[in-house]
Amino acid sequence: MHVVVVTKNTPDTEATITVDANGGANWGDKMVVNPWDEYSITEAVLLKGAHNVKTTVLTVGTEQHAEALKHGLAIGIDQAVRVWDAALEGDDSLVYARAVAAAIKKLGDVGLVIFGKEFADSASDAHIYQVARLLGWTMLGFVAKIDAVDFAGGTIRVQRLTEHGTQTISGKLPAVISVVKDINEPKYPTFIGIRKAAKADIPVWSAADLGVDLGSGKVKVERYQELPRREGQVELIEGATAQDKAAALVDKLIEEKVL
């Protein structure tokens, strides 16, 4: 039985982003593992420790994303695979999901696919649900805890964090899940893992290797835009006492009809 984590590199969350005259965005060279994937990778390693499962970390992307795979290996994932094909240029979730779904089929005997809640750069998660749909598997998103998973029996029970509260839901395997921050304390790479990762030879699969027609994307990224500037500077409320300052602030907010 196989557990697969899907990850990629995203720009450093501290990076400053600038937009050029052509609507292109620049965020510098520093890339980190998609922050949400620290949780998904850790969850896979925890499952490996508790069950007799093999773990694979998968990325769909250019050489630039190989580092995210190495990070996964360094934390304790067994093997890594990268999928790349010219047809994957662009940022269409469904094209991406077709590649992931095909890679999962090729890996074989997969019981669980784990994603981090979203990609921090494109702020998108549609690909996750689309992978589940393309595979026809159980979809459990926004998982804050895996209560129980029985790979032999083919069942899973999780807690989902939704706007309506915490939902306990059970389903059949194979399943696709996405995880939120509450699920675990992210693990660090181990030194032995780092040595293994540095030596790892990571296979690259093309669409032809996967035997899949990726189709063409419907979503076009047209351009980036700077955020609208916030007008004016902060107005510091002065006053002799905390009470004076509080009263002055309340006046301002009521005056401006914020309340």
């Binding site: 190495k70 990070h71 360094a74 660090y188 790479p189 181990t190 030194f191 032995i192 780092i194 040595r195 990762a197 540095a198």
Partner: protein, 404 residues
């Protein structure tokens, strides 16, 4: 000449950075104020393997090279000096001495548990009135059959009350001429009868670090715990300093980086006269100097690390790196406080702690004045290295990483 770090180096550096920043930094200030070690430091550094980073896998370590040790020290001291001090005494001054001088039996018995972090190591050379002049030490060791009986007191010992294995130096021949030939090294354990330890409080800096004293009263140390030959202790101690100073210097590089990074952040945020202070020329000058000190100190340390990897004697190169890096860390901390203005003077920001911490390292493991004498003596031809009976082994990736 290749200045690039390997993928292994970069990943190990990132891992230690994440650990120190996420787990230790958020609550470090409280422990510094309380003058107590952060309780997570030792157990987590053991668990993560940091305490055995550059020891061969066959001796319980992680199989990384000596350069990685420097990178680790830089990341640890970027957060707080107390973290790096652990590496200086446990690794630089103790475990690496076992790697260099220990017999195979001693490596298996003493080094393996240290590299795994099951036993913590410390180093006892300095005495209440013998610091820069260790040959004047009073501690004695008297052979009685299968044991040596040790008496004496060691002072300013980092991790004195935390360590299980303490590498101490004592005179087996107090009358020896020259006197340094009468010194012998021993590994005592904290559970031996007659060993007592205590903490010292009220230090200017490294307040989250553990510093104390070790007293030995008729401690019976089995002969199998003698490290090296009788009378070889002084050479062992000096070789330990080649490694201890390396970690101190590497840590100081991290401290300079802390000053630089904090000053960059603050000077971009803080505004005076209608613009960020980073746009004022005199602030720029301070930032420029900190950058220069960081680059130069780091290059000196990495050269020493490269020489260790190659198996080359590096006493001079390590000493000059330690001297420069620690002196510059004091200057960088002073400048960082100046950049932060009145805020830098309060413990609201970290820079005042950097200054308090930096000051220790220009005193311990060879005060800057001693380092200057060393450099001058090498340059003038008054001093030269003689081969040691046991040299620090060159880094051999196959030997280091081979699982037994």
């Amino acid at each position: 000449m290749d200045f690039s770090l390997s993928e292994e180096h970069v990943m190990a550096q990132q891992m230690v950075r994440d650990f120190a920043q996420r787990e230790i930094y958020p609550t470090l200030k409280e422990w510094d104020r309380k003058q107590q070690p952060h309780p997570r430091v030792l157990p987590r550094m053991a668990e993560l393997g940091i305490l055995g980073i550059n020891i061969p896998v066959r001796y319980g370590g992680q199989g990384f090279d000596y350069l990685t040790l420097a990178l680790v020290c830089e990341e640890l001291e970027r957060v707080d000096t107390s973290l790096r001090v652990v590496m200086s005494v446990h690794m630089g001054l103790n475990s690496m001495a076992l790697l260099q001088w220990g017999t195979e039996e001693q490596k298996q018995r003493l080094l393996v548990p240290q590299a795994r972090g099951e036993k913590i190591g410390a180093f006892g050379l300095t005495e209440p009135d013998a610091g820069s002049d260790p040959v004047s030490m009073h501690a004695t060791a008297r052979r009685e059959g299968d044991v040596y009986v040790l008496n004496g007191e060691k002072m300013w010992i980092s991790l004195a009350t935390k360590a299980d294995h303490i590498l101490v130096f004592a005179k087996t021949d107090p009358a020896a001429q020259p006197a340094h030939k009468g010194i012998t090294a021993f590994m005592i354990t904290s559970d031996m009868k007659g060993v007592s330890t205590g903490d010292i409080h009220g230090k200017l800096g490294v307040r989250a670090g553990s510093t104390g004293w070790v007293a030995m009263q008729d401690v019976e140390v089995p002969a199998e715990n003698r490290i090296g030959e009788e009378g070889e202790g002084f050479y062992i101690a000096m070789s330990c300093l080649d490694n201890g100073r390396y970690t101190v210097g590497a840590g100081a590089v991290g401290l300079i980086r802390a000053c630089l990074e904090d000053s960059i952040k603050y000077s971009l945020e803080r505004r005076t006269f209608g613009k960020p202070i980073a746009e004022h020329q005199l602030i720029k000058q301070k930032i420029a100097y900190m950058q220069q000190w960081y680059d130069a100190a780091r290059l000196l340390i990495l050269r020493a690390g490269w020489m260790k990897n190659e198996g080359q004697r590096n006493t001079r190169e390590t000493a000059v790196a330690k001297w420069f890096a620690t002196d510059m860390s004091v200057k960088a901390a002073l400048e960082a406080i100046q950049v932060h203005g009145a805020y830098g003077f309060s413990d609201e920001y970290d820079v005042e702690r950097y200054l308090r911490n930096a000051k220790g390292a220009v005193i311990y493991e060879g005060a800057s004045e001693i380092q200057q004498l060393i450099q001058a003596d090498y340059a003038l031809g008054f001093r030269e290295d003689r081969p040691l009976r046991c040299e620090l082994p060159a880094y051999d990736v196959d030997f280091w990483q081979e699982e037994e």
